[in-house]
C-alpha cells in the first residue's frame, strides 16, 4: 500500500490465542495472525462463526490477552490505550442500561471519564444529532426499536471521542432493511469523524459495501487467509450493491475462504 510510510494505527503481529474448552482441552481460536491497520481506515474482519474474529477484536481492545504475539495501538500497548479511553466499542447487543434514559446511557462513559457537566451535555447532543435520535433523548431503551437501540450504542461509543471504533457484529440481530440503512449511517459518521474502524461481520456483502480492506478469516484454527482490497469509489451508495464490480468483489471474497 502506498500510505505505508506512516506508523500503523493498529499493528497485530503473529497473534495466537488458545482457550481451554469446558473439558480443559486446548482450543486454538487464532493462529499466527498479523495485520497492520492505518489511521482512518475502515477494516472488516470477515468470517464464519468460530473463526476468531470477535476474539481478535477483543485482543486489540485489551478485553482479552493473547497467548502469544504482540499488539500495538497508536504505538502503545492495548491496555494503555484502553485506560486512556481511546476505544469506542459497539457490541452485537446494544448493551444499553434499561434503567437509564438514552441521554443518560450516552452519559455513562463520560461520568467515568470525569468529563465536566457542560461538556457532557454538549457532547451528548452532538452524538444524538449524528445518529438521528435527537427527539428520543429522554426515552428509555425499552421504548425503542432494535435499530434505534443500536444507534444509541453507536452514539455512546462516539461520545467518548475515541480514536478507534470497534464494532462487533453490530447489525447481525437486525433485519435486512434496517441493517442496510445503518450501513449507510455508519459510513456517513465515519466520513464525518474520520475514525479508524474495525468492523466484525459474517456478512460478505456488508463487508464489501463498507470496507477499504477486508481481512478474511477461516476457522479451525482461526487464521487470516486473505486480505482483499475493496477499490469501489467513495462515498458508497446503495446503487453500488447492484453493480458487476460489487458482485465480482463478493465472489472474490467468497473464494478466499479456506476449509469451510
Amino acid at each position: 500500500m502506498s500510505e505505508k510510510v506512516n506508523v500503523p494505527e493498529i499493528s497485530v503481529k503473529n497473534v495466537s490465542m488458545v482457550f481451554s474448552d469446558s473439558k480443559g482441552n486446548p482450543v486454538q481460536a487464532l493462529k499466527d495472525v498479523s495485520i497492520d491497520i492505518q489511521k482512518g481506515e475502515f477494516i472488516s474482519l470477515l468470517g464464519p462463526s468460530g473463526c476468531g474474529k470477535s476474539t481478535l477484536l477483543r485482543i486489540v481492545s485489551d478485553l482479552l490477552t493473547p497467548t502469544s504475539g504482540e499488539v500495538t495501538v497508536c504505538g502503545k500497548t492495548p491496555k494503555e490505550t484502553r485506560l486512556e479511553q481511546k476505544f469506542g466499542i459497539v457490541f452485537q447487543n446494544p448493551v444499553l442500561l434499561d434503567w437509564r434514559t438514552v441521554r443518560k446511557n450516552i452519559r455513562l462513559p463520560l461520568e467515568m471519564m470525569k468529563v465536566p457537566k457542560e461538556e457532557q451535555a454538549s457532547r451528548i447532543e452532538q452524538v444524538l444529532e449524528l445518529v438521528g435520535l435527537k427527539e428520543f433523548g429522554n426515552s428509555y431503551p425499552g421504548q425503542l426499536s432494535g435499530g434505534m437501540q443500536q444507534r444509541v450504542g453507536i452514539a455512546r461509543a462516539l461520545a467518548i471521542q475515541p480514536d478507534i471504533l470497534l464494532m462487533d457484529e453490530p447489525f447481525s440481530a437486525l433485519d435486512e432493511f434496517t441493517r442496510e440503512k445503518l450501513n449507510d449511517d455508519v459510513l456517513h459518521i465515519w466520513r464525518k469523524t474520520n475514525k479508524t474502524v474495525l468492523f466484525v461481520t459474517h456478512n460478505i456483502s456488508e463487508s464489501v459495501y463498507m470496507s477499504d480492506r477486508i481481512c478474511v478469516l477461516s476457522p479451525h484454527p482461526g487464521r487470516l487467509s486473505a486480505i482483499v482490497d475493496v477499490n469501489l469509489p467513495r462515498p458508497r451508495t446503495p446503487e453500488m450493491r447492484g453493480t458487476p464490480e460489487f458482485a465480482a468483489l463478493v465472489e472474490k471474497v467468497r473464494n478466499s475462504f479456506e476449509g469451510i
Binding site: S61, R82, L97, T101, M112
Partner: protein
Amino acid sequence: MLNKIKSSKGIVTAVWVLGLMVIWEICAFIVGATQRTPINVLPHLYQIFGSFFDPKPITGSGDTIATLVFSSAAETLSRALIGFVIGMLLGYALALFMNLSHIVEKIAFPYLMIIQMIPILGMAPIVLSITGDISSARIVIAAILTFYPVSTNTLAGFKSVGRERHELMKSYGANKFQLYIKMLIPSAMSYFFTGLKISAPMAITASILVDTLQGGNGLGCMLSQSLKGSMTRFVFWDIVIFSAVIGVLSFYLMGVIERAISPSKRKAKKLNNGKD
C-alpha cells in the same frame, strides 16, 4: 384507551375476589346444613365481617374484636417489619460479599441452604429460648426468613449481568466501585425486589407463628386463645382474614416501591399499554 385497560384489570381482580366469596359462601351453606357448630368449621362471610365491627366488648378491659385485632397486629407486625428490614440489609450485604469473593460464597452458601431447610417450627423455640423474649424472637425469626430469599435472589441478579456488560465497563477502564454502583447494583434491582416480594409475607407469617409459642399480646397469641375457646371463635376468623389481607398487601407494597424507584419500569409499562 389507557383507562379502559386499567379498569379492565380492576374488573379481573373484582371478578376474582367475588368468585372466591361465592365459593366460600356455598361451602358455608353446606357446612351450616351438616355441622352442629358451623362457626368452628366455616362461618358465613357476613358473620365474620359483622363480628369485626361488632361494638360489643369481648374482654374484661373493654376491647372489641376490632381494637383487639389492631392492637395485637401493631405488636406483631412492628416486630415483623424490624426483622424484615434487618434481614434485608444483612441479606443484601452477604450477596455483595459473596459476589465480591468466591471464597466467601463457597463458605456461606451451604449455611444459607441449611438455615433454609430447618423448619421454622423447629427453629422458633430455640430462638425463643436463646433470646428469652418474645419480641426479640419475632424479630430474629422474621430476619432469618427474609435473609435467604433476599440474599440468593440478589446474588443471582449480580451473576445474571452478561459478559458484554462487563466488557463495556472494562473498556471504559471502570474500577470495582464504579462497576457495582453503575452496573451491577442497578442490574440486580429487580432480582432484589423479587426476593423482597417472596420474603415480606413470610416475615409476617413467621412472626405470627412465633406468637403462638408464648402468651402475650400478639396476633398469633390471640389466634391460639380463640382456638382454645377462651375467646369467641370469631377472633380467630377475623385474624385469619386480616393476616391474609396484610400478607397480600405486603407483597403488592414491594411492587409499588419498586416502581416508585425505577422510572424506566413505569414508562415502559405505559408504552405497552398504549400499544395494546
